[in-house]
C-alpha cells in the first residue's frame, strides 16, 4: 500500500489547536505541524516530547564555567601572575571576586552558542539546507498539519480523509509516495 501524506492547512492557530485535539482524540497520529510561530500547548496534544535543549544548555554553561575558572587561573595566577589593583596574592581563591564577571560572561557565551548550534544541527537548519516545510505559506500566516497513512494503519485513507474534513480545514492536499 502506498503511503499517503495529508497536508492539512488551517488559517488560524486556534482552529489548528481544536482540530489537533479532535483528531488525536479519535486515535489519529499527527506526524508534525508546520507553523510560523510556536503554538502554546500544542506539543503535548500531538505527542511531541519535551525538549532537552535546556539540559544541554545547562551542560554547555557549566563547561563554560569550568573553562573560565581554568583559564583565569592559568592566565592570571599560574603562567604570568598579574598584579592588578594591588592584589598580587598568587591565589585564585583570594582573587576570585575579580574573576566572577568573566566567568559569568563565558558561561553565558558557551550556554547560548552551544544551545543555538545544537538547535540548528538537531533541526537540520544549517545554511544551504533544503527547506523541509511542505508549503512556503507556513512561514507567513498559515498552519499545516502533516498526517501520514503509514502511522495510522488502523483506518483506511478515505476514512482518514473524512475525519480530517470534519475540522475547519482551509486547504487539503494529498500526496502519494
Amino acid at each position: 500500500m502506498a503511503n499517503k501524506v495529508f497536508h492539512v492547512m488551517y488559517d488560524d492557530d486556534q482552529k489548528l489547536m481544536t482540530a489537533a485535539q479532535a483528531l488525536v482524540s479519535k486515535g489519529i497520529r499527527v506526524k508534525d505541524v508546520f507553523s510560523p510561530f510556536p503554538v502554546h500547548g500544542l506539543d503535548p496534544v500531538i505527542g511531541v516530547k519535551r525538549t532537552r535543549l535546556a539540559i544541554a544548555s545547562f551542560m554547555y554553561a557549566t563547561t563554560g564555567t569550568l573553562l573560565a575558572i581554568i583559564g583565569t587561573w592559568y592566565f592570571m595566577i599560574h603562567d604570568w601572575p598579574m598584579n592588578i589593583g594591588g592584589k598580587p596574592s598568587f591565589s585564585w581563591v583570594e582573587n576570585a571576586p575579580a574573576f566572577v564577571p568573566v566567568i559569568f560572561e563565558f558561561s553565558v557565551f558557551c550556554g547560548a552558542h552551544g544551545m543555538v548550534i545544537t538547535y540548528l544541527l538537531r533541526n537540520g537548519l544549517l545554511p544551504g539546507m533544503p527547506a523541509s516545510n511542505p508549503d512556503p505559506r507556513t512561514t507567513d500566516d498559515k498552519f499545516v498539519m502533516e498526517i501520514v497513512t503509514d502511522q495510522n494503519s488502523s483506518m483506511s485513507a478515505s476514512e482518514l480523509e473524512a475525519l480530517i474534513k470534519t475540522t475547519e480545514v482551509y486547504e487539503l492536499s494529498i500526496k502519494e509516495y
Binding site: H40, G41, A54, F58, G85, G86, P97, A98, V100, P101
Partner: protein
Amino acid sequence: MKQDKLQFEIPAGVQKWSTICMAIGLVAAVGGWIVDHTDHHQYWWANLLINGFFYFAVALGALFFYALQYATEAAWSAQLKRIFEAMYGYIPVGVGVIIVVLLAGQFHIHHLYHWMDPDVHDVNSPAYDEIIANKKPYLSAWFFWLRMIAYAGVFIYFARKFREWSLQEDAVGGTELHYLQYRKGAVFLVFFAVFSSTMAWDVLMSIDTHWYSTMYGWYIFAGMWVTTMIFATLALIWLKGLGYFGSVNDSHIHDMGKWVFAISMLWSYLWFCQYMLIWYSDIPEEVTYFQTRYEHYMGLMWGIFFTNFALPFYVLIARDAKRNKKFLMRVGAILFVSHFFDLYLAVIPGTNHAHETFTGWFELGLFIGFLGLFVRMFVTALSKANLIPVNHPFLNESEHHSI
C-alpha cells in the same frame, strides 16, 4: 467555570499556632531583655529592629508587587491579588515597630544610631566625629523625622486606599476602579522607587554611619521583594492545599516559583555588585563594612550568600522544580529564614558583636513571635473579603493562564 470557595474560614489550627508563636515571641522578648547585658540593652533593641523591619519589608514588598501588577496590567496574577492585600495589611503594625525603635533611639534609650548623639556634631566636644558631622544636612533630627513621617504616611495611605478600592470593585464592578488603581499604582511606584532606597539608608545603612554604599537601597529592596514572593508562594500553596483557589493551576504556581527564582538572582547580583566594587577598590572608607563582617561573621556572611544564591539557582532552575509544590515550599522556607539572617547581618555588626551576646533562643523566639503576629493578621485580613476578586476585569484571563 469551576465554582471556587469565596469565603475563607480561618482553620482552628492556625488560630492556635499563631497564638502559641506570639506567646513564644513575648516570652523571648521578656527573657531576652533580662539576659541581655549589653549597654542600654542595645542587642535587644537591635533584634527588635531586625524583626520589625523584616516583616514590614514582607508587607511593603506585597504593596509594591500589587501596584506593579496594576501598573504593568498583568493579568495572570489577578486571582491572587487578595493574598497580597492581606499581606500589606500588616504595614501599619510594621511601621509602628520601626517607629518605636527609632523613637527610643532619638530619646537616647539605646545607641543603635550613633549619629543621633548630638555630641558627635559638636566641634568642641571630645566625641566630635568629622565624618558624621559632614553628614549633618541629611542626618539631622528634623529632616530625618520628616522623612519618616513621609514614608509612614505614603505607605499607609496607599495600603488603605488600594484595599478600599479593591473591596469596592467587588461590590460595584465595572472598569472605573480598575483604571483608577492602574493610575494610582503607577503613582505609588514613583514614590516607592525613591522611598525604598532612602528608607533603607535611613533605617539600616545609617547604623554604620561612617560607611555608605550606593547599592545598599537596591540590595535591601531585592531582599524585601524575594521574601514577599516566598511568603505569597507559600501562602498560595497552603491555601490551595486547604481547597481554596480551585482555578489556580500549575502555571500560576510555576510563575510564583519563577518570581522566587528571579528575585533571588536579582538579590545575588546586587549583593555581589556591592561586595565586588568595595573589595576591588579597597578604600578604607568603604571596606569598614565588610571588614567587621570578615572578622566576626565570615562563615555566616558567605553561608547566607551561597544559600540565597546557589541554592535557588541550582534547585529552582528546572521547570519541574518550580511546579512541584512540596519542593517549592521547602526551598522557600529555607530562603525565608536565610534572608532573615541576611538582615540580621546587616544590623548586628554595626551595633554590637553578637558573638558575645548571641543566645539562639532569643533571636529565634522573636522571629517566631513576629511570624505568628504576621500570619494571624494575614489570615484575619484574608477572611474579611472574598478570596477571589469577583469583579476584576482580568479575572477570566487569569483563570485561563497557561504557560
